[in-house]
Symmetry: C2
Subunit: 334 residues, 2 copies
DNA sequence: TTGAAAGCGCTAACAT
DNA sequence: ATGTTAGCGCTTTCAA
């Protein structure tokens, strides 16, 4: 109620105060084996009095583990990663592990050092590093393991990876559009180098089946709001009745641009996104999209990592199918 | 080019390989004092060959510092904190420090333990804990310092704090609205317990000056999109020509609700937000708001923390004035 | 300039 | 059941 202790107590002080050995204090603090109740009580009392708590750093050194994991991401401002971060932090936290975050800030060249450095401070890492060349990654595995990959695979390795099934998401979106009668669809393409763009485009091409299922028009666009916004005019000039945007941001931009052109969505044209970022439900009209299960990604990432930390080798490649969310931005073609 | 080293090398191995003492290796690795060039070269070569890098954990124990700081936030899904997180991580990273994140998930009762626990793993913390009672916080300072507070002050303590000048933000918003001719303004209030809401409301009351400057109507609302959305009807029934929303999310909701009612913004009514979260520029119409300088908050938080880590006591209370961002959601009253 | 030795705070055999 | 001892891997006096 009054004592204000400074300069943290050590296990030795507590041992001394309780008149026991440090080993006994350690045992008590860890709820280990059997310590005579009387001694345990003395130790606890001393610890309490001295406001003692074991030093995590010293424990880490002695135990060879830190109860910390790291998340490595290219860009924290990406809503996708924010959600993964959150769920990962929560899941790991429930099992008593802390989360270190390392952002490469899109500097691929630093990513390697960053990952290695981060890994040395903790017990394992979750790596979301879409740009790192596969070969480099493969070479790094021994230094980085235990680890789990997010949004990319490493064939032939025994690193668990959690990915999004872009093709399935696109397929659901397209089925939905087809069921509404759309037969001429424009794809607002993302960055050509982005894996997710390639996979989404590939799926679209396959589904279009050379125009036999629907006519596919590809428009170079980008990944941001402004790209979608700028594309609105071009979209309309194609005469398409529906637009599949690379992601939600682009879809927002398109929605906004179309609105400015006086085009009514979904009456005159339907729009779909991809990701289901937090604001997708709040646009006007609310965005029909394929929801990437970021929460699941984060949680499972921790579970796979935990398996490995416990010595079980948890190799596995998982593809998560996005969930089709039909909202107001899609409607029957007229 | 070939050797694949497992089970990380230690300083002893390197010393042995180089035929020197561990002390010398340590000196070389830290670029310390003067080591004979020849020896240094031998050490470096051995380190390289063994793929050696000093253990951060062991260094932390020996040095008494971890080169890590922690950010403690109630809710990572809050866009405000995301941006602080990002800028803090970047700033600290540039000075070679890592960031540990700890989310209390809005459980105030756990916040205290969480903070203490986090603090023990690192050199200092940035605490964004609006709900923690002042008295508890005051009691915690000795255990948590060095620390810096975000979004709250601790009068009488020597803890630096970085806050938002809500009053100034509201003042700018109101001046803007007054200049557009608005004289009847409704405030869509946030959670009554939220400090930010109290301060914003207080500023509004003061500026209204009992209706002499403008008529102020307060509507209980909330902090979320849906709250704003639900309030649209009531807003219109007040006959006000402008609405000041508690924050951007509420403003979005209001925008959406008004749109559904067929009310045109800003022609029939003006709407302002607060925060300038990333999507504020993307609404239809783009939201006029008071931008909270989250990037600055994060950066300065690190700078204050760094000062303390270097031994300089950096007491200071800073209030950041939000920046008025005039966009499309406000216009002249008709 | 370099090395020997002590210590950071803890845990874990091994004895007793 | 408890204490003794030897580390975990590094840094840093202190001597030489």
């Amino acid at each position: 109620m009054s004592g204000r202790t400074r300069s943290t107590a050590t296990i030795s002080r507590v041992a001394e105060a309780a008149g026991v050995s440090r080993a006994t204090v350690s045992r008590v603090m860890n709820g280990r084996s059997t310590v005579a109740p009387e001694l345990a009580a003395r130790v606890l009392a001393a610890a309490e009095a001295l406001d003692y708590a074991p030093s995590p750093v010293a424990r880490s050194l002695a135990l060879g583990r830190t109860a910390t994991i790291a998340l490595i991401v290219p860009d924290l401002s990406n809503p996708m990663f924010q959600d993964v971060l959150r769920s990962l932090s929560l899941a790991a936290g429930e099992d008593g592990h802390r989360l270190l975050i390392a952002e490469s800030n899109e500097h691929v060249e630093d990513e390697e050092i960053l990952a290695i450095e981060a890994r040395r401070r903790c017990d394992g890492i979750v790596l979301a590093s879409p740009r790192l060349p596969t070969e480099d990654l493969r070479r790094l595995v021994p230094q980085l393991a235990p680890m789990v990959l997010i949004n990319r695979k490493l064939p032939g390795s025994d690193v668990p990876s959690l990915s999004v099934d872009h093709g399935a998401g696109i397929s659901d979106l397209v089925s939905h559009l087809l069921s509404l009668g759309h037969r001429k669809i424009v794809y607002l393409a993302g960055p050509p180098v982005a894996m997710s763009n390639v996979e989404r485009l590939t799926a679209l091409r396959r589904l279009s089946d050379n125009g036999r299922q629907f006519e596919l028009i590809q428009l170079a666009c980008g990944a941001m709001f402004d790209n979608g916004h700028a594309a609105a005019g071009e979209v309309m000039s194609t005469g398409a009745t529906a637009v599949v945007a690379y992601n939600d941001m682009v879809a927002f931009g398109a929605l906004s641009g179309l609105h400015e052109l006086g085009v009514s969505v979904p009456d005159q044209i339907s729009v779909t996104g991809f990701d289901d970022i937090p604001f997708a439900r709040f646009t006007t009209p609310p965005l029909t999209t394929a929801a990437v299960p970021t929460g699941t990604l984060g949680r499972q990432a921790w579970e796979h990592l935990r398996e490995q930390l416990q010595g079980h080798s948890s190799t596995q490649e998982t593809d998560f199918r996005p969930r089709l969310l039909v909202r107001g931005s899609t409607g029957r073609t007229t």
